[in-house]
C-alpha cells in the first residue's frame, strides 16, 4: 500500500506548518468576538460583557470615522493607479534602450529602494523634507517660501503617495518588462516593413502585447483598496497630520494599543477585514475572468 504510506508522509510534513498557521492565523479569528464586547482585559474574551453591535454603532457616530475611511481609500486608490501607470511608462521607456549593459545598470539601481525598510526611508525622507533639507533649500533658493512637508495636511498625502511610487516603481516594472520581452520580435519586423512609425508600433504591437498584464495588475489592485500602507504612514506621520494621514490601520493601532479601547479598535479592524476580504475575492475573480489568472 504505497499510496496510503505517502499520504501519511504528506500529513507528517504538513503538521508543523499547519500547527503554526492554526495558532497564529486561525486562532486570532476567534478574537473577533471582542468587536461585539465591552472588552475588559482583566475579564478576558469569555468573561467580558456582550454588547452586540454597540461598538459598530459608536464607530459610525465618531466624527473622525468618515475622514479615516476617506483617507484610507483616497491614499490607497491613488497609489494603486500611479503604481500601475508610472512603472508601465518606465518599462516602455527602458524597453527602448539598446545597450544591454546600461539597461542592466538602470534596472539594478531602480529596484534598490524597494528593499529598504520604511524606517530607513522615513529617516531619509525626514532629512530631505526638513525645513533645512535639500527640498526646502531648493525652494527657498528659487525665492519661494519653505514648505512644511510632513506637518501640512495639504502636502502630507502628496508626500505619502509620491514617496511610495518612488520606492516601488522599479520593482513594479519587473512584470511589465517580462511581458515586453515575451512579445514576438517578428511582429515589430512586420510592422516596420509596413512602414509603421515608433508610435504606431507602440500603439498596435506593444500595448496590445502587454494589455493582459495591465488588466491583470489592475484587477489585483482592487484587492488592495483597504490597504493604504501602514508601515509608511506610521513612520512618517504625527498628530499635526492626523486629519489627512490617519488610515484605518494607524487608527486601530492608536485607539487599540495606545488608548486601550480594544472593543472599538477590533470593531474597526473587523470592518476592514470583512470589506478587504470581499475585495480580495472580487479581485481574484476579476483576474480569473479578465486575465485568465489563478493564484494556484
Amino acid at each position: 500500500m504505497r499510496t496510503s504510506r505517502n499520504v501519511w508522509g504528506y500529513y507528517l510534513m504538513l503538521t508543523p506548518p499547519i500547527l503554526l498557521v492554526l495558532i497564529y492565523e486561525i486562532f486570532p479569528l476567534f478574537g473577533l468576538i471582542i468587536a461585539f464586547q465591552d472588552f475588559v482585559p482583566g475579564k478576558g474574551m469569555f468573561g467580558s460583557t456582550f454588547v452586540g453591535l454597540d461598538n459598530f454603532i459608536y464607530m459610525f457616530q465618531l466624527k473622525e470615522s468618515s475622514q479615516i475611511f476617506y483617507n484610507t481609500i483616497f491614499i490607497a486608490v491613488s497609489k494603486i493607479v500611479l503604481n500601475l501607470i508610472v512603472p508601465l511608462i518606465f518599462a516602455l521607456m527602458l524597453n527602448e534602450v539598446l545597450q544591454n549593459t546600461l539597461k542592466r545598470w538602470i534596472q539594478t539601481i531602480v529596484y534598490l529602494p524597494h528593499f529598504m525598510s520604511w524606517v530607513i526611508l522615513a529617516g531619509v525622507l525626514t532629512n530631505l523634507l526638513a525645513s533645512d533639507g535639500i527640498f526646502n533649500n531648493i525652494i527657498t533658493a528659487l525665492g519661494f517660501e519653505s514648505i512644511f512637508f510632513l506637518g501640512s495636511n495639504t502636502w502630507f498625502p502628496i508626500v505619502i503617495i509620491g514617496s511610495d511610487v518612488w520606492k516601488e516603481f522599479g520593482f513594479n516594472a519587473v512584470i511589465f518588462l517580462a511581458a515586453l520581452t515575451a512579445i514576438n520580435p517578428s511582429l515589430y519586423e512586420a510592422a516596420k516593413i509596413d512602414g509603421a512609425s515608433k508610435f504606431h508600433q507602440l500603439r498596435y504591437v506593444t500595448l496590445p502585447g502587454i494589455a493582459p498584464t495591465i488588466v491583470l495588475l489592475a484587477c489585483l489592485g482592487v484587492g488592495k483598496i483597504m490597504n493604504a500602507g501602514f508601515e509608511q504612514i506610521f513612520n512618517l506621520y504625527n498628530p499635526a497630520v492626523y486629519a489627512s494621514g490617519d488610515i484605518i490601520d494607524t487608527y486601530v493601532y492608536r485607539i487599540g494599543l495606545t488608548q486601550h479601547q480594544y472593543g472599538l479598535a477590533t470593531a474597526v479592524g473587523t470592518l476592514k477585514s470583512v470589506v478587504g476580504f470581499i475585495l480580495v475575492v472580487l479581485s481574484w475573480k476579476l483576474a480569473d475572468k479578465w486575465a485568465n489568472y489563478r493564484i494556484f
Binding site: 504505497r2 505517502n6 499520504v7 508522509g9 510534513m13 504538513l14 506548518p17 503554526l20 498557521v21 497564529y24 492565523e25 486570532p28 479569528l29 476567534f30 478574537g31 518606465f90 534602450v97 539598446l98 545598470w105 538602470i106 531602480v110 534598490l112 529602494p113 528593499f115 525598510s117 520604511w118 524606517v119 530607513i120 526611508l121 522615513a122 529617516g123 531619509v124 525622507l125 525626514t126 532629512n127 530631505l128 533645512d132 535639500i134 533649500n137 506637518g151 519587473v174 512584470i175 511581458a179 501602514f230 508601515e231 506610521f234 512618517l236 504625527n238 498628530p239 499635526a240 490601520d249 487599540g256 494599543l257 479598535a265 477590533t266 477585514s273 476580504f277 489568472y293 493564484i295 494556484f296
Partner: protein
C-alpha cells in the same frame, strides 16, 4: 550605437530618452547617497546645509562613535539572530508546506482543503488586536520567538514555491519512487535541488522581511536590549524628528548635532541589504515572473 536607417530626429529622441532614464535612475539613488554624504561630513557643514552629494569636511567620527555604541550593537545582534532563526524557520516551513500541496489530489486527497485554509489566512485575518492578544497568550512575548513564530509560515512564499514544484514533470518523482526513494528522500534529493533558484528567491524575500521589520519589535518586545535594529533606529531617528515637527519648533540644536551620527546609523543599517542585494537581484526576477505570470 545608431543604425544607418535612423533619421536625425530619431537619434535626438533616443538621446533624450537615455538622458531621461538616467535622471530617473539617479533619482532613485540620490536620497540614499545624500545620507551617505551627510554621515561622512563635518557636523557644522551639515547644520549649515552645505552637504548635498559630496561630503564636506570629510570625517569618520560618526562611524567611530557607532563602534563604541553598545545599544546599537545589541540591536544589530538581535536583528542578525532574528534573520538567522526566522529565515531558517521560514525556509523549513515553506518547503514542508509547499511540497505536499504541490501534489495532485489523486495522490494527496486532502490537498485542496488544506490549501484553502492557507489561502484563507492570506485573505482574511483577525486584525491587530486579536493578533496581539494571541501572541500574548502563547507566552512568547518579550523574546525572540515573538518575532519569528507568528510569521513562521509565509503563505505567499508557499504558493510561489508550490507553483514551482508543480511545474516539475511528475515523471521525475515517479522515477525516484521506482528507485525505492521514500517521499522525504524524493523531496530532499530530487525536488529541492531542482528548485534552488525558486527556493533562493523566497528565502531572500524572508531574510529581507526579517531584517526590515520594526513593528513587532516595537509592540512585542519590552526590554530595550531585545529590540531589533529597525525598531531601535525608529525610536532613535524617526520618532524624535517627527516629535519635533509636530511641536512646530523648526530647529533643535541638540538634535542637529546628532544629525551626522544618526545618518551613519542609518547607513550601517542599510549595509546588510546592500550586501545581499546582488544575490537577490539575480533571482527575484525569475521568482516573481514565475509566480505571477503564468501561461
Amino acid at each position: 550605437m545608431f543604425s544607418k536607417q535612423q533619421t536625425f530626429g530619431e537619434k535626438v529622441t533616443y538621446v533624450l530618452l537615455l538622458i531621461a532614464l538616467i535622471l530617473i535612475t539617479l533619482a532613485c539613488l540620490a536620497p540614499i547617497w545624500h545620507m551617505v554624504a551627510i554621515s561622512l561630513s563635518d557636523n557644522s557643514a551639515v547644520s549649515a546645509g552645505q552637504v548635498t552629494f559630496i561630503p564636506v569636511g570629510f570625517t569618520l567620527t560618526p562611524y567611530e562613535f557607532i563602534l563604541q555604541d553598545q545599544r546599537f550593537f545589541q540591536a544589530f545582534g538581535v536583528s542578525v539572530q532574528r534573520v538567522l532563526l526566522g529565515g531558517a524557520i521560514n525556509f523549513i516551513m515553506t518547503i514542508l508546506a509547499a511540497y505536499p500541496l504541490s501534489k495532485e489530489t489523486s495522490e494527496f486527497p486532502a490537498r485542496n482543503k488544506i490549501m484553502w485554509i492557507f489561502i484563507f489566512t492570506m485573505m482574511f485575518n483577525g486584525g491587530l488586536i486579536p493578533w496581539y492578544m494571541t501572541i500574548k497568550m502563547t507566552g512568547v512575548m518579550d523574546s525572540i520567538w515573538a518575532l519569528v513564530l507568528p510569521g513562521a509560515v509565509p503563505v505567499f512564499n508557499v504558493v510561489l514555491l508550490m507553483n514551482f514544484f508543480r511545474a516539475i514533470p511528475k515523471e521525475v518523482g515517479e522515477a525516484a519512487k521506482i528507485d525505492g526513494a521514500g517521499i522525504f528522500t524524493t523531496m530532499w534529493k530530487v525536488y529541492i535541488p531542482m528548485s534552488m533558484a525558486s527556493i533562493a528567491t523566497v528565502t531572500l524575500f524572508s531574510i529581507v522581511h526579517h531584517w526590515n521589520a520594526f513593528f513587532d519589535g516595537m509592540i512585542l518586545i519590552n526590554t530595550p536590549s531585545g529590540q531589533p535594529l529597525q525598531t531601535y533606529i525608529r525610536s532613535l531617528v524617526v520618532l524624535p524628528a517627527l516629535a519635533d515637527m509636530s511641536s512646530g519648533s523648526l530647529e533643535d540644536l541638540m538634535k542637529l548635532s546628532e544629525k551626522t551620527f544618526n545618518a551613519a546609523k542609518i547607513v550601517v543599517t542599510m549595509i546588510p541589504i546592500l550586501l545581499v542585494y546582488p544575490f537577490l537581484q539575480r533571482y527575484f526576477v525569475t521568482g516573481i515572473t514565475l509566480g505571477s505570470v503564468k501561461e
